[in-house]
Amino acid sequence: MQINPMEQFRVEPLIPLHIAGYDVSFTNQALVMCVVVAAITIFMFVATSRRLLVPSRTQSLAEISYEFVGNMIQSAAGEEGFRFFPFVFAIFFFVLFSNFFGLIPGVFTITSQIAVTFALAALVILTVVLTGFMRHGIGFLKLFVPHAPFALLLLLVPIEVISFLTRPISLSVRLFANMLAGHTMLKVFAGFVIALGAAGGIFTGLALAPMLLIIAITLLELLVAFLQAYVFAILTCIYLSEALHLHDHH
């Protein structure tokens, strides 16, 4: 019996499609992405369709999520950050729903693909850079110049530049690695259950141990799914705040 814990991450084309030599097939990943976006849209539409003064359960869920993201922006980027509310809200909910959908057994986890998380992170950083240059012009480059004697600047500016360049990478790798590690771990332990269960005799009883562990890990993964979406969104706010205010937080 072969159990491959990495098989769950394989991107497979559902509808093969080639345009101008590029493979643009509709894959299982694209399918889950569509489902995620549809789920968020339906949820928000249903929740806000009736607009009751005393909110219904779904409406208050929508209100809580609005306030949650609002507070996050307020604390990290201040009043001015609210211009980016739709952006941060969309990113937070896309990552959150992707993570949660991925926890449903059999559903592809799109945030376990570095291509997806890096695209999101690149979008964030491009927004930050564009915002910075639009607001401060060339003065945005002051972000790379800390308060220090000139001789030290020769050393500090490259460090700051590298530090800035790491942002899209650490942002994407953190989300991707968390999801990849969590789901691989689940599948590895699930493999133990099957192997022990099939071994027969005393081993069949032992299969209970990894089974219990899977339940515990699944709960942990629920927390991680939320936390990673939160970290992604709050870092987006912090980076945007830097582009808006150019404050150096040394």
């Binding site: 490259p158 650490s170 939320f226 936390l227 970290v231 937080h249």
Partner: protein, 112 residues
């Protein structure tokens, strides 16, 4: 000042404060797990090293020299430490938010 109505109101005020405090505690985002914090710091450090090294490698290739990879690897290490310190500051700020003040000013509050 000790009429029953006043005391009832005071009791209600305390109850409201209690509920509000509990609500507030629930509303603040979950504190990151220790593993999460460790993971955050590790990615900051490792990505900075990788980016620094890759940048040095690339510049070596552009200028046809062989020492920039070393220089930029060290700069990357410095940037990594910088990022980690920054992440620590952010985490501290996030966790150290002051608890909410009671909504109703009680008389015994003023006495103290």
């Amino acid at each position: 000042m000790n009429d029953p109505e006043h005391r009832d109101l005071e009791k209600l005020g305390h109850k409201l404060d209690e509920v509000r405090r509990r609500e507030q505690a629930r509303a603040t985002p979950a504190a990151p797990t220790t593993l999460g914090i460790a993971f955050r710091f590790t990615t900051e450090m490792v990505t900075a090293l990788v980016v620094g090294g890759a940048l040095g490698w690339f510049l070596d290739w552009v200028f046809g020299v062989h020492f920039l990879v070393v220089v930029f690897f060290i700069l990357g290490a410095a940037a990594g430490i910088r990022n980690t310190m920054r992440a620590a500051t952010e985490l501290n700020a996030e966790m150290g938010k002051a608890p909410p003040a009671p909504a109703i000013k009680d008389e015994d509050d003023e006495e103290r």
